[in-house]
C-alpha cells in the first residue's frame, strides 16, 4: 500500500530523530562496525565527495593500479528526475575519486531490466561515466559464470565475470520504494550482477537478498538518496512520487548502509524482510542506534 505523505513525513522525522537521540543519551552509544557517513546538501556531487572523505577517503579503499568496478542502479529506462536510476553526478564523484586514488581503470556496468542501451543512455549514466573517463560496459550473456554465494536460499547462480574479475567493487545504489522488497538499496542493487532467470529470486526475496549480500564483498557502498522515489517503485515514472532528500550515505558496510537508508526513507529497518534476514545471518546491526552514523549538512 502506498504510504501517505503525512505518514512519510512523520516517520521520517521520527526515525531521523531516532538517529540523533541515542548519541545524546549516556550509555546508549554502544555502536559497532565501520563509520556510516550521511551527508545532506544541494549538490549531489559535493555531498558524495564529502561523505567518502568522512569515512576516510577513497585512498583507503582504492590502491594504485586497481581495476575498479562501479555498480550503479541503471535498471530502467528512466530519467534522473524520475529517480529510478543512480544520479550521474553521484557517480561522477565516485569515478573521479577512484581515479584520483590511482585506479588504473574504472568500469561502470549493470545488468539492466529494460533494454540496456536505452537505460544507459536515458539515465544519463553512460554519458557521464564516459566523460569522467570510465569504461562503460554492457552485460554480455556469454560472460556468465556460475558463482557460489554459499547461502541456504541462494547457492550457485550465474554472475557476469566482469564483476568478479576486478580488484575493487563499489556499490552505488539509489534509495527507492520497491513493491515486493519494500525498499531497494545497496543489498538489492546486487541483483544487477546476476544473470539467469532473476525473477525466480523473488519468491523468498528477503532471504535471497541477504544471501546475495552476504556472499559478495563490497569495498565501498555509496547510497544515492538525492531524489527518492517514495511510491510505485522500483520503476516509478511519475514526478509526484519523487521527493528531494538531498542526501547520500557512505560506508564500507553494506547492511548498515541499508539500515541507515531505510531509516532515512522513513521506515523501520526491522520491518524490512531483507534486513531482518541479514540480521539473522549476523551480518550487522538492525537498529540505527547501534550503528555509528555521522550526519552532516553542507
Amino acid at each position: 500500500m502506498p504510504m501517505k505523505r503525512r505518514t512519510f513525513v512523520k516517520n521520517g522525522l521520527l526515525f531521523s530523530s531516532a538517529l540523533t537521540l541515542p548519541s545524546l543519551l549516556p550509555g546508549q552509544n554502544k555502536t559497532s562496525g565501520p563509520l556510516v557517513a550521511q551527508v545532506q546538501g544541494d549538490s549531489p556531487y559535493e555531498i558524495a565527495k564529502r561523505a567518502i572523505a568522512m569515512i576516510g577517503g577513497m585512498d583507503k579503499i582504492v590502491s594504485r593500479t586497481d581495476v575498479v568496478m562501479v555498480k550503479p542502479n541503471i535498471g530502467w529506462n528512466r530519467t534522473v528526475e524520475q529517480a529510478a536510476c543512480t544520479n550521474p553526478e553521484v557517480l561522477r564523484a565516485v569515478i573521479e575519486l577512484a581515479f584520483a586514488a590511482g585506479a588504473k581503470k574504472v568500469v561502470v556496468m549493470d545488468h539492466t531490466c529494460h533494454t540496456a542501451e536505452d537505460c544507459y543512455e536515458r539515465s544519463g549514466i553512460a554519458a557521464m561515466a564516459k566523460k569522467a573517463g570510465a569504461e562503460v560496459r554492457y552485460c554480455d550473456e556469454n560472460r556468465l559464470v556460475s558463482h557460489d554465494f554459499h547461502g541456504d536460499y541462494l547457492g550457485k547462480w550465474p554472475v557476469f565475470r566482469d564483476f568478479l574479475e576486478v580488484d575493487k567493487f563499489i556499490n552505488v545504489p539509489i534509495l527507492k520504494h520497491h513493491g515486493s522488497a519494500g525498499l531497494t538499496i545497496a543489498m538489492k542493487n546486487l541483483y544487477g550482477i546476476l544473470g539467469g532467470n532473476r525473477g525466480k529470486l523473488h519468491g523468498d526475496m528477503g532471504e535471497n537478498i541477504a544471501d546475495l549480500a552476504n556472499g559478495f564483498s563490497n569495498h565501498l557502498v555509496l547510497v544515492d538518496a538525492f531524489r527518492v522515489l517514495t511510491r510505485n517503485g522500483p520503476i516509478g515514472g511519475r514526478l509526484s512520487d519523487v521527493e528531494l532528500r538531498k542526501t547520500v550515505i557512505a560506508t564500507t558496510h553494506i547492511m548498515h548502509a541499508d539500515v541507515a537508508a531505510a531509516a532515512l526513507f522513513g521506515m523501520n529497518p526491522g520491518q524490512l524482510e531483507f534486513l531482518q534476514a541479514a540480521f539473522n545471518r549476523k551480518m550487522g546491526e538492525i537498529e540505527t542506534a547501534r550503528i555509528p552514523i555521522q550526519s552532516l549538512s553542507i
Binding site: N77, S180, N197, G199, P234, I235
Partner: protein, 515 residues
C-alpha cells in the same frame, strides 16, 4: 559509343548501385538506434516506390511523402528501367550474385520470353487482389522483401557471427585483443544488437531470401527478370521511354553484346526496351563501337513488345480474384477478436491488413525484439504482418520507434504521450500457475516491471494455504484492467519457465474502436 566509354558508364552504374545499397542498409541499421525525432527519414526508399503509392492510395488516408514515387515513374519514361539497374539495392544484390555465378551461367539460353512475362502476370495478380483488400504486394515488392529479409534474417545472422567471432578475442588478454577490441567496440556501437535478436520462423523468410539470391547462379538477375512486380511496372513504362540502344553499321554481327546482357538479349539479336536495365554491359562488350545511345520518341512497331498475351492477362485477373477472395472467407474473419496483439498505433485489423506492406521495418526498429512476423496467426492475408509477441520482447513504455518507421502508417505515428495511453491489449493472470495463487509464495516480478506509474499490476496481502498446507501471508498480484496498456513486459519477465502465468491478449484493445 566505344568500349572505353562503355566501361566508364558501367563503372559509374556499379558505383551508383553500391552507393544506394550502402545508403539503404545504413538507414535500416540506424532505425533502431538513432533518436526518435529523425526516424522518418529511414523510410526514404519506401517513398520512392510506386507500388507503395498504390497501396497507400487504396488504403488511405493519403500520405504526402508518397508523391515522391512519381519521380522514378516519370524518369523511367525518359531513361528506361534505370531504377532497376542503377538504384534498387535488391537489384544490386542480384547483380552481385549474378557476377558470382558468371562463370557457370551459360552464355546462350533458349528463348525465355515466356518466363520474362511471369513478372507482368504476377503484377496483375497482385494489383487485382489488392483492389479487394487482399494486400500481398509487399510479399514481392523488392524494398519490402529486402527490408523484411534483412531485419529478420540477414542482420540477426550477421550479428550472431560477428558477436561470436569478435567477442572472445576482444575480451582476452592476448596481444590480438588490441586489434579486435576496437573492431568489437565499433560493431557493438553500430552493428550489433545488445542481445541477439531472434524471430519466429525466421528460417522461412531466410530460405526465400537466400533462395532468391542463389537463383542468380542459374539465371542472371533471376528475381528482376522473372518475378519483380516493381520491375514489371517499370518495364511496362520503359517500352515508351526516350532512351534506346541503337546498333550502327559498324556491327559485325558477332553478338558479343549478349555476353553479359542481364536478360540474355542485347541490342543486336533481341532488344527489349522493357527488359533492358540500362546496365551498359553491352556497350562495353562491343569490340567495334557499334552500339549507340539514342534519345527518341518510340514509334509503333519499332521495338518488339514483350507483354503478357491476352489470355495470360485474363488468367492473371482471374487468379487475382481468387487470391483476393480466398483469405477473406476464412472463419477467422468473422470472430469477435483474435489470439494475438499488434504493436502500438496499429489500425483496426481490417485497415491494418490493407495498409501494412509487410516490410518488417518495425521489427528492425523495435529495441526489445518484441515485434515478430506472423505466419498464419492473422490469417492467410496476414502473413508476415507484425505481431507483438511478449514471449519474445515487450513494448517499451518510453519508445515509439515502430510507429515512426512504418512507411504506410499501418502503425500510426504516435507522440510518446499518446503511445503511453495506447491500449494494445490487457494482461490476464492465470491463477492456476501464478506463484502467488497456486503455490502460495511471493513473487511480484510483474508488479515490479509494470511501467504504468499508477501500476496496472498491484500487490495485495492475503492469507492462503500454500502447497504444504500451511496458512501463509502472501503478496498476491492482480491486474487493474483499466490501467493496463498491454505492453506485455509482465508476460515477458514472468519467471515461470513452462508458460508465463500472466499473458496479454487482445481484450479491450484500443484499435477495435476504429471498426
Amino acid at each position: 559509343m566505344n568500349a572505353k566509354k562503355g566501361k566508364q558508364w558501367q563503372r559509374l552504374r556499379a558505383a551508383s548501385q553500391v552507393l544506394f545499397s550502402i545508403l539503404f542498409f545504413f538507414l535500416l541499421l540506424i532505425s533502431g538506434r538513432i533518436a526518435v525525432e529523425s526516424l522518418p527519414h529511414t523510410g526514404a526508399f519506401f517513398y520512392i516506390d510506386p507500388l507503395n503509392l498504390w497501396v497507400n492510395a487504396l488504403a488511405g488516408p493519403f500520405l504526402r511523402p508518397f508523391l515522391l514515387a512519381l519521380v522514378p515513374l516519370v524518369l523511367t519514361l525518359v531513361l528506361g528501367r534505370f531504377f532497376c539497374g542503377w538504384i534498387c539495392p535488391f537489384g544490386a544484390l542480384q547483380q552481385f550474385f549474378t557476377w558470382l555465378g558468371s562463370r557457370r551461367v551459360k552464355k546462350k539460353i533458349a528463348s525465355h520470353h515466356g518466363a520474362l512475362r511471369w513478372k507482368y502476370i504476377l503484377l496483375i495478380v497482385l494489383l487485382v487482389a489488392s483492389l479487394f483488400a487482399t494486400q500481398w504486394l509487399g510479399w514481392l515488392d523488392p524494398f519490402s522483401l529486402l527490408t523484411r529479409s534483412s531485419s529478420v534474417t540477414l542482420f540477426p545472422g550477421l550479428n550472431f557471427l560477428l558477436q561470436h567471432a569478435l567477442e572472445s578475442g576482444a575480451n582476452s588478454q592476448s596481444l590480438g585483443s588490441r586489434i579486435i577490441k576496437p573492431l568489437y567496440d565499433f560493431s557493438r556501437a553500430w552493428l550489433l544488437s545488445g542481445t541477439q535478436r531472434t524471430f519466429l520462423l525466421s528460417f522461412v523468410i531466410g530460405a526465400i531470401f537466400f533462395g532468391l539470391l542463389l537463383l542468380n547462379l542459374y539465371r542472371r538477375r533471376f528475381f528482376c527478370n522473372y518475378l519483380c512486380p516493381l520491375g514489371a511496372l517499370y518495364g511496362w513504362l520503359a517500352k515508351y521511354s526516350l532512351f534506346r540502344l541503337h546498333v550502327n553499321p559498324n556491327c559485325t554481327q558477332c553478338n558479343a553484346c549478349a555476353g553479359h546482357c542481364t536478360y540474355y538479349g542485347g541490342p543486336f539479336t533481341d532488344y527489349q526496351k522493357s527488359e533492358c536495365l540500362v546496365c551498359m554491359n553491352c556497350v562495353k562488350d562491343c569490340p567495334v563501337a557499334a552500339i549507340d545511345v539514342r534519345w527518341q520518341l518510340p514509334k509503333a512497331g519499332q521495338v518488339p513488345a514483350l507483354a503478357p498475351r491476352r489470355r495470360q492477362i485474363l488468367s492473371a485477373v482471374g487468379c487475382g480474384l481468387v487470391a483476393a477472395a480466398l483469405p477473406q472467407i476464412a472463419a477467422g474473419k468473422k470472430t469477435k477478436g483474435h489470439p494475438f496483439i499488434r504493436p502500438p498505433g496499429a489500425a483496426a485489423e481490417k485497415d491494418f491488413l490493407k495498409k501494412c506492406i509487410r516490410c518488417g521495418a518495425c521489427m528492425q526498429a523495435c529495441p526489445t525484439n518484441a515485434i515478430q512476423p506472423a505466419l498464419l496467426q492473422a490469417g492467410l492475408d496476414g502473413l508476415w504482418t507484425p505481431l507483438l509477441a511478449p514471449s519474445c520482447g515487450y513494448c517499451e513504455y518510453e519508445c515509439v520507434r515502430c510507429t515512426r518507421v512504418c512507411p504506410t502508417h499501418a502503425l500510426a505515428s504516435l507522440a510518446l504521450e499518446e503511445k503511453k495511453q495506447f491500449k494494445i491489449g490487457t494482461a490476464v493472470i492465470n491463477r492456476s500457475t501464478c506463484y502467488t495463487y497456486a503455490d502460495g509464495h511471493n513473487c511480484g516480478v510483474c508488479e515490479e516491471h509494470c511501467p504504468v506509474p499508477e501500476k496496472a499490476i498491484r500487490l495485495r496481502e492475503v492469507e492462503l494455504y500454500n502447497f504444504r498446507g500451511k496458512l501463509k501471508k502472501v503478496k498476491q498480484v492482480y491486474v487493474v484492467p483499466d490501467l493496463c496498456i498491454g505492453c506485455g513486459i509482465c508476460e515477458n519477465v514472468c519467471p515461470r519457465t513452462d508458460a508465463p502465468a500472466i499473458v496479454v491478449g487482445a481484450e479491450e484493445e484500443q484499435r477495435e474502436a476504429f471498426y
